[in-house]
């Protein structure tokens, strides 16, 4: 037989399948319904699991990055393979950066002395003084564009100078080091100190506001929880405005260094500095403020000494790719004796929990599909029995057994395609409904996502493949039965 012959008879077989489907519409629809529900369930929960995972793990925690801490600082340590590391210093940063799985290392350091912030009067109607909790991160860790002209840059970082290379605006050359230039408070200093500087009232030198970034979740937290909780209460809490990023960027406030509600630094005198919120970044501390690392190091050196200025509190380690995270984790914890930060341990646990819940519901979907496959076996067997004479006739007219198998499996394929499409649509509709209900019934809360679901193209492919698998499984036995019908049945069956 030529290939054109077989391809033409294959397409004719399709016509035969279509005819039989049209005739037994109700039966096929009924047997496909279960599969559709199963696929809908599978699709729904896979997308939900994926969505929740993305929301929680990738928005609240960042995957692909590890944050490690020195276990000695957090608790008892067993030490790594190569002995306990001597704290998170520049040497260790270098060592981690040289690991092959590592793309980049970003050291972080917290403020190690008491400080408080005072300001906000322009927004809240009255100045507020709060404990200032902050850390410092490398400037290049911030990927978000910083629109404030000050930038997330340490302006007051003294550089060396010589006769040939003078100091930048606002500095003067003292020996070989640049020092802030003198100025007179109250005068216009933009010419002598540069556009971003001001004249520090006590020091009478040019000074630059300390750039501060904050985590966008703080706004959510404020708008979603704090504002709602304080609504109608007395004092300024009762009339808190709804905040937005644009409202806050550029806000200046005073930092009182060396003293706060909680204590007072003995080492150096209390000092007031101006700070400015220059932007929002996912890289900022979730509950606090974040400054350029060099600023924090300089302040820590002044208020807490050299040792705390040279020791980092954690390292943010970026893996070269997501699949390198696991080996990297092993390397960092087992070989270098470091410890994942509590946040990342928590992320791992939550990720596992979501996976387990998704798995559980997918298992339920699989049970539904299994039952549907049995239902298909039953319905198809019944239809094969009903069509005994017809199938016998086809055999008598020259249909080989294989054609009969293909006929029944072809019917199952169409049922699979239709029920997969229906199932995907049902799943999507259910998800849409849940999102709608979620958005209108559940009030604002921090990190509230627009959709609980994470749709991926592979989920549709998975739904289709699963529907095909179960429909074919269900139709296997009926197809064999149909093929076993003797052509003589055409003559004897009445």
């Amino acid at each position: 037989m030529s290939s054109s012959t077989s391809s033409s008879s294959r397409s004719r077989l399709g016509a035969l399948v279509t005819q039989s489907l049209r005739r037994n519409r109700a039966h096929f629809a009924l047997s496909g319904l279960g599969v559709a529900v199963g696929i809908a369930t599978l699709f729904f929960f896979t997308a939900l699991g994926e969505g929740v995972r993305t929301q929680i793990l990738e928005r609240v925690f960042v995957i692909g990055q590890l944050e490690v801490v020195d276990p000695a600082a957090e608790g008892p340590s067993l030490g790594g393979l190569f002995g306990s590391v001597g704290g998170l210093d520049d040497r260790l940063v270098q060592r981690v950066a040289e690991l092959e799985e590592v793309e980049a290392v970003f050291p972080k350091q917290k403020l190690t002395f008491p400080a408080s912030a005072r300001g906000g009067g322009s927004l809240l109607g009255r100045d507020l003084t709060i404990e200032f909790i902050a850390d410092g991160i490398p400037q290049d860790l911030v990927d978000e564009p910083i629109t404030d002209p000050l930038g997330f840059v340490d302006h007051a970082n003294p550089a060396s100078c010589s006769a040939s290379s003078p100091c930048p605006a606002g500095f003067q050359c003292a020996g070989e080091v640049c020092e802030p230039a003198a100025c007179t408070p109250g005068e216009d200093v933009s010419a002598s100190c540069g556009a971003q500087a001001y004249c520090h009232a006590q020091r009478r030198t040019c000074a630059w506001p300390i750039p501060v970034i904050a985590h966008p979740n703080l706004i959510e937290l404020f708008n979603g929880s704090l504002r709602t909780a304080l609504k109608g209460s007395q004092g300024i809490g009762g009339q808190l405005p709804r905040l937005s990023e644009t409202m806050l960027v550029g806000l200046e406030f005073d930092l009182v260094l060396g003293q706060s509600f909680l204590g007072r630094n003995e080492r150096a005198a209390r000092q007031t500095e101006r700070a400015r919120l220059v932007g929002f970044s996912e890289r900022a501390m979730p509950m606090g403020a974040t400054l350029p690392l060099s600023v924090v190091q300089r302040l820590n050196r002044r208020y807490s000494g050299d040792e705390s200025a040279d020791t980092y509190h954690s390292l943010l380690v970026e893996a070269r790719s997501n699949d390198q995270v696991a080996p990297l984790t092993r390397r960092l914890t087992e070989e270098l004796g470091l410890q994942l930060s509590a946040r990342h341990q928590q992320a791992e646990r939550i990720g596992l929990l979501i996976s387990l819940i998704t798995l559980l519901f997918n298992l339920i979907a699989l049970i539904i599909l299994g039952i549907s496959a049995l239902n298909i076996t039953h319905t198809f067997s019944m239809m094969v029995l009903e069509r005994r004479a017809e199938i016998g006739l086809m055999r008598a007219l020259g249909a080989p057994r294989r054609t009969i198998h293909l006929l029944v499996l072809g019917e199952a394929t169409v049922v699979a395609l239709l029920s997969a499409a229906t199932g995907l649509m049902l799943g999507w509709l259910a998800a849409y409904g849940l999102d709608l209900a979620f958005n209108s019934l559940v009030g604002d809360f921090p990190f509230k996502p627009d959709s609980l679901f994470g749709w991926q193209p592979w989920m549709a492919a998975l739904g289709l493949a699963t529907a095909l698998l179960f429909c074919w499984l269900g139709a296997l036995l009926p197809a064999r039965r149909a093929g076993a019908i003797s052509p003589a049945a055409a003559l004897t069956a009445r």
Binding site: M1, S2, S4, T5, S8, S9, R12, L13, A15, L16, Q19, R22, R23, A389, E390, L393, M394, R395, A396, L397, G398, A399, P400, R401, R402, T403, S486, P487, A488, A490, L491, T492, R494
Partner: protein
């Protein structure tokens, strides 16, 4: 195309009982013959036709289609046997066996789904021509429930002729029809036999039908008890 049945024995096991439906039948039918197989109910006529037609190969002995070198049907693979049925054999049944959800033309073209390599359009055209040859062109789009018994049987004959068979196997083709309609169907068989040289093997229990054949084979309790040539009774020309 010759048909050689050699020492054919077919037994059925019905629970404890063993029924010998065919008992050592030997028979040769040459191409172009018109044979009537007669016998009482249960004598094995349908069983013999199933064996000849390759619908059943579960027997002792052999059935050979074609020249002396041709393989016996029971030695063929399932595929080869299906292809043999498709190419060489046509079947006409007492109950017509039409598919009610298909039109007359679609019923006639049904064999094209299983071989022959005709396109849908060509198959349809061929079906229309065949319906024309049995005088049913105007009912090509009708469905079987809308047709009379005689019309149904003509559609069935057209279907049997679709793949240009060498042998037409008919099991009580007039059994469900009244006498006059039956005679009209018989005339179609006679014409096919006379004009196209198609071998017609026809099972019947009606004497006036058997009388139209040129050879009469009689079965009784699975045995071949009579095999005679006869002068066909020419019908009164209408």
């Amino acid at each position: 195309m010759n048909l050689v049945v050699h020492n054919l024995t077919r037994q059925f096991h019905a629970g404890e009982r063993e029924v010998t439906a065919l008992d050592a039948i030997t028979l040769t039918i040459e191409g172009g013959e018109f044979v009537a197989i007669v016998g009482r109910s249960g004598s094995g006529k349908t069983t013999l036709l199933n064996a000849i037609g390759g619908l059943d190969t579960d027997y002792q002995g052999s059935v050979t289609l074609g020249g002396p070198d041709a393989p016996a049907l029971h030695t063929l693979s399932e595929r080869e046997l299906a292809a043999t049925r498709q190419r060489h054999l046509g079947y006409v049944f007492q109950q017509f066996n039409l598919l009610n959800h298909l039109s007359a033309a679609e019923n006639v073209a049904l064999p094209s789904f299983f071989g022959g390599g005709l396109s849908a359009a060509n198959a349809h055209q061929r079906a229309l021509n065949l319906l024309d040859s049995v005088g049913l062109k105007h009912l090509a789009d009708a469905r079987p429930p809308q047709l009379s018994g005689g019309q149904k049987q003509r559609v069935a004959i057209a279907r049997a002729l679709f793949a240009e068979p060498d042998i037409l196997l008919c099991d009580e083709p007039t059994g469900s029809l009244d006498r006059d309609t039956g005679l009209q169907i018989l005339e179609i068989f006679e014409r096919l036999n006379r004009e196209q040289g198609i071998t017609v093997i026809l099972v019947t229990h009606e004497q006036h039908v058997a009388a139209r054949a040129r050879r009469r084979v009689v079965l009784d309790q699975g045995k071949l008890v009579e095999d005679v040539a006869q002068t066909p009774l020419t019908p009164e020309v209408a």
